[in-house]
Amino acid sequence: MTEETLTIENKTGIHARPASIFVQTASKFKSKVQIKAKGKTVDAKSILMIMSMGLVKGTEITICADGPDEADAVAALKELVESKFGEE
């Protein structure tokens, strides 16, 4: 199990577009990937789950992955969040 705690920095938060990029990235890995935030844990490969969490700017999230490529998965998603999904 690998995990990493981050803060959402992009202005619009994880809205539709960032959520779909996030899901597409998470889906590339075999490991089970989850997001923990606001006391809930959801499947990071589900756009519905991620969108219904309402992750706005400033929310602290923990990305955890469990499986053969867990380290790569967490690293890739961390980079995505830190790059603000290419937004401001």
Binding site: K11, H15, R17, D43, K45, S46, L48, E87, E88
Partner: protein, 569 residues
């Protein structure tokens, strides 16, 4: 007499056809469905998910490369992701365990997720509930073997409380005559698609929609919001008469198309079109417009889920500017606020959005939105004659700030080695009483004024134009409004800049006479109004218009002005 029900007409035009109920009811199929064992039901659901995802993918591919279909393609793509969502898949599987039937399980799982979205405060998410139910229905239909509604020879009028966007998007344009929605939202995806296809549309019919049955003959009037169910021969005759009159008037107006807009004593007024998309320019030209006086750039921002970038905006503006063929194309910067929030703007709900965080007030705070828009317009200017119009300005400071941003945009463009025009005029929309009063000062800084009467009347008279119980107070001939308009036009003339108008008032031929008397240079309106305004201007002299204006400005009441104009003109 046929039954008549009335909603809110949002896309004009008269249409006739047979009703096709689009919010298709699956109850009949569900009752007769005989589920097998749980394992088989799960497999059926899984198979249906794959089939639906494949079909959506095929649909998306046919849209590729077609710019006008981009909004539809984006919606379909979102649906595809939802169909294949693992959380939805799991919910379906556990629901099959519970209810035993695959189609029931799919609908229940989608409904549960839709409810979650519906309860979110954000209007954007609430609207996604419709998409989810649409997705659930598609999968259920696939399991039940229900075919998508088949269309016969004639045109249909789609009707449903909420119509799934996929239904409209999936039908060929030449088979749909119009759209009726029970729900009231003018920002529904279905309405956005209908608008792009110019389909007469009525929304907000409410429960009365249950009076309309599948296959009913109807006539809809997208201007009045009237729906005639099972019209009698008499009704048909009267509507045919209306349609005929419309056509005759159209034919008469067509003869005016290429004639110049001049008074009998040779004073020219430019008649331009208000548009929402570059795709509207060709249609506007068919009515004889001489350029675009208002390009509502909101359209570029609406119906999507992220900020349109500089390139995307540049393409839309460039196309409009090019299509104006050397005539002016006035692009209004984003005029959006809490009344029509965009998901990616994150504007919190406001008690009073018309007096709130909107239009230039957002632009000045959101450089990430404003700079790409300014850069896109400056670049489009290379392909013709573009102008930037700033909405909701109330003071000089705001305009100065806009000019600073424009300088910054130019510097960035120069730095990036992109071509841009240095001759893009920059003006303001005069739509607040504050701006109108301050026009003698503002005129020193701007290149033009364009009077936006819809808001100017609303703000000056403190009358919400959407409120039917005070609608009688909303009158653009109110002396307070006329005084502000005259002040604006006079300020422009004294400072050697031009003044135009781009609100509803500009399409009123009686108002056009007064504006002509005040010395207006340009009138911009929805294109179908151009011929009747042109006809009026060509019938009068500027001297006569000035005389009428002088009489009107002595009057004490808006209704008196209206009555007088109808008498003398």
């Amino acid at each position: 007499m046929a039954e008549k029900i009335t909603g809110k007409g949002v896309i004009h035009g008269i249409a006739t056809g047979k009703i096709m109920l689009a919010g298709q009811n699956l109850d009949g199929y569900l009752v007769n469905y005989k589920p097998l064992d749980a394992t088989t039901e799960k497999e059926k659901a899984q198979k249906a998910i794959e089939t639906v995802a494949e079909n959506l993918q095929k649909n998306i591919e046919t849209f590729q490369g077609k710019e006008e279909m981009a909004a539809q393609a984006a919606i379909m793509e979102a649906h595809r992701m939802m169909v294949q969502d693992p959380a939805l898949g799991e919910a379906i599987v556990s629901m099959v365990e519970e209810v035993g039937s695959a189609p029931h399980a799919v609908l229940k799982a989608a409904e549960a997720q839709a409810k979650v979205f519906e309860q979110m405060e954000d209007e954007y998410f609430a609207a996604r509930a419709v998409d989810l139910r649409d997705v659930g229905k598609r999968i259920a239909k696939c399991i039940l073997g229900v075919k998508e509604p088949e269309i016969g020879e004639g045109k249909v009028i789609l009707c449903g409380h909420e119509i799934e966007p996929s239904v409209i998007a999936g039908l060929p344009t030449d088979k749909i005559a119009g759209v009726i929605l029970g729900a009231g939202s003018t920002t529904a995806h279905a309405v956005i698609i209908a608008k792009a296809r110019a389909l007469p549309t009525i929304v907000g019919v409410g429960d009365a929609i249950s009076q309309i049955a599948d296959g009913d003959d109807v006539i809809i009037d997208g201007e009045q919001g009237d729906i005639l169910i099972r019209p009698t021969e008499t009704d048909r005759a009267s509507y045919n008469e209306k349609i005929k009159q419309q056509e005759e008037l159209k034919a008469h107006y067509a003869t005016l198309k290429d004639l110049p807009t001049v008074t009998t004593d040779g004073i020219r007024v430019e008649l331009m079109a208000n548009i929402g998309s570059h795709m509207d320019v060709d249609n506007a030209k068919s009515y004889g417009c001489e350029g675009v006086g208002l390009f509502r750039s909101e359209f570029v921002f609406m119906g999507r889920e992220d900020i349109p970038n500089e390139e995307e905006q540049f393409k839309a503006y460039k196309e409009a500017v090019e299509k104006c063929e050397g005539n002016l194309c006035v692009i209004r910067t984003m005029d959006i606020g809490g009344d029509k929030p965009l998901p990616y703007l994150n504007i919190p709900p406001e008690e009073n959005p018309f007096l709130g965080y909107r239009a230039v007030r957002i632009s000045l705070k959101r450089k990430d939105l404003f700079l790409p828009q300014l850069k896109a317009i400056l670049r489009a200017g290379v392909y013709g004659k573009a102008a930037i119009m700033v909405p909701m300005v109330i003071n000089v400071a705001e305009f100065k700030k806009v000019k600073e941003y424009i300088e910054e945009a130019k510097m960035e463009l120069a730095h990036e080695g992109k071509k841009y025009s240095d001759n893009v005029q920059v003006g303001i929309m005069v739509e607040t009483p504050a701006a109108a009063v301050m026009t003698p000062v503002l005129a020193k800084y701007v290149d033009f004024f364009s009077i936006g009467t819809n808001d100017l009347v609303q703000y000056t008279l403190a009358v919400d134009r959407g409120n039917s119980s005070i609608a009688y107070l909303y009158n653009h001939f109110n002396p307070a409004v006329l005084t502000l308009i005259q002040r604006t036009i006079t300020s422009a003339r004294e400072n050697g800049i031009w003044a135009g108008m781009c609100g509803e008032m500009a399409s009123d031929p009686y108002a056009a006479v007064l504006l002509l008397g005040m010395g207006i240079s340009e009138l911009s309106m929805s294109a179908p109004s151009i011929p009747r305004v042109k006809e009026k201007i060509r019938s009068i002299s500027s001297i006569k218009a000035k005389e009428i204006l002088a009489d009107v400005m002595k009057m004490e009441d808006g209704d008196e002005v209206k009555a007088y104009l109808h008498k003398v003109l």
